[in-house]
Amino acid sequence: MDYLPHTETDVREMLAAIGVRSVDDLFADIGPELAPKSFDLPAGRSEMEVRSFLRELSGRNATSLVPFVGGGFYDHYIPAAVDALASRAEFVTAYTPYQPECAQGTLQAMYEYQSAICVLTGMDVSNASLYDGGTALYEAAMMAARITGRQRIVMDSGVSPIYRTILHTYTRNLSLEFEEVEPTNGQSDRAKLFAKLDDRTAAVILQNPNFFGSVDDHADIVAEAHRRGILVIQSVYPLALGLLKTPGETGVDIATGEGQSLGLPLSFGGPYLGFMAVRREHMRRMPGRIVGETVDRNGTRCYVLTLQAREQHIRREKATSNICSNEALCALRAVIYLSLMGKQGLVDLAKLVRDKAEFAKDVIGRLPGVRVDRDLPTFNEFTVILPCPADEVVGRMIRKGFVAGFPLGRYYKGMEHGLLVAVTEKRTREEIVKFAHSLEAVLCA
């Protein structure tokens, strides 16, 4: 199947209008020596055949296992209205809204998304999305370096290891330096962190809840950092903000995070949604597209892309970032999700998720040989210390129909017995109880 409407007559007449004999004449600039050495692709097929093939491939992925795995990406329920609205062709097949008269739909939706991120995080200004939580964190680090003119970043290693590797990769060719500080007892170690701060430090990067699932209040770190002219970047889990102290209340300068939990399917790694929200004074240093409110010539309120002079298409090598495409359709899903949830819905969801996680912590913590720190505050995810390597346990639990969690030893040396277990509103009491029983059986084997 191709999507080419021209008939042979069309082609013939158009060629005549152009004044050439064949389509090949239009490629005359390309000498025969530049012809492809091969173009050995399979023949095209019908929808029916491709669907059958891809359905078979999709069947070779295990989605029937009950997931207790998170690591920043969670199996939440997506209300049907999110899919229905976000799949409207006028949203899906529109382009970047450079012509405001043709794009008030996208522009207003993005303005609403920016507003939603601000009320969620308690920050002043949000952009219209970045690729994902990891590249958003990188952009935040770069922003801090630009604002302070300093090159050193201190990172709590409770920040997602997935994100930390991205930061290292991206900054390899730049003069940014990183210093990592290990948490103690699951939370940010203040003494160690403060000892690393100096007058070459641009920012401290923290995460809440951190990768181990622990909740914290970073206000004291913010106070100390600000005392020294150092900015604070906090990576957060958006659904947790239905309950937890916000980056805004904590006083941080830049909040970033992954918006996948806001109505985006897991989709094996993407597309995802990086959000970034900042204090008002940092607004002009923020990368990415931003939508602003204005009026048209008749005084009617409308929305436009604004502060574009920071961006690559104008500033080129001096741009705040090279970002061009963002995750607009994902941001749309997020604002629809948050609108459906609403003020009270998000509070109730956060409570439900935490209650289930606490229940899971309780039943798992009582299993023989298993340790869970009951004093450490957590939200939807927590660390379980098993009596044997977590890798093996996960392997055996798969055979019992569960993805038991994420083995922390993959990223943290010395934590080979550590398992990161995540719970969402989709996990029923039955599933949790059965999970605990299966785990017990696996551990005793």
């Binding site: 002009r284 574009q308 002079a309 920071r310 104008i314 500033r315 001096k318």
Partner: protein, 133 residues
Amino acid sequence: MSAPAGLRYAASHEWAKLDGVRVRVGITAFAVAEIKDVVFVDLPAAGTAVKAGKSFGAIETVKAAFDLYAPVSGTIRAVNAALAASPETVTKDPYGEGWMIEIEPAGSDAAAKEWGVLLDEPAYAAHCATQKH
């Protein structure tokens, strides 16, 4: 909009005025003619070090951004705070209220050299004549 006497100029269209120990800096009428609808003037904080010929900030319109280049090296001692609220002052009164920063030059020898390299009024006028708008 005619320039007061005694100014010196950079080829990148900044003017410089020696005021005691400090050098006050802005952009010229020639530069301003290029710029419609200033929306923001991006200036660094007082205390920032600048180098002759290097960018210290930018002037932004909706569709474009123009770099501002320091005519001499030194430390910024004053920044025109009025431009934050009224960036269009730069286009209305580029030599007066539209001034941007004041630089305290580094050392006397280097400063004298840098000052000497700047264009005087006739040389700048000649330079502008060769530039197409």
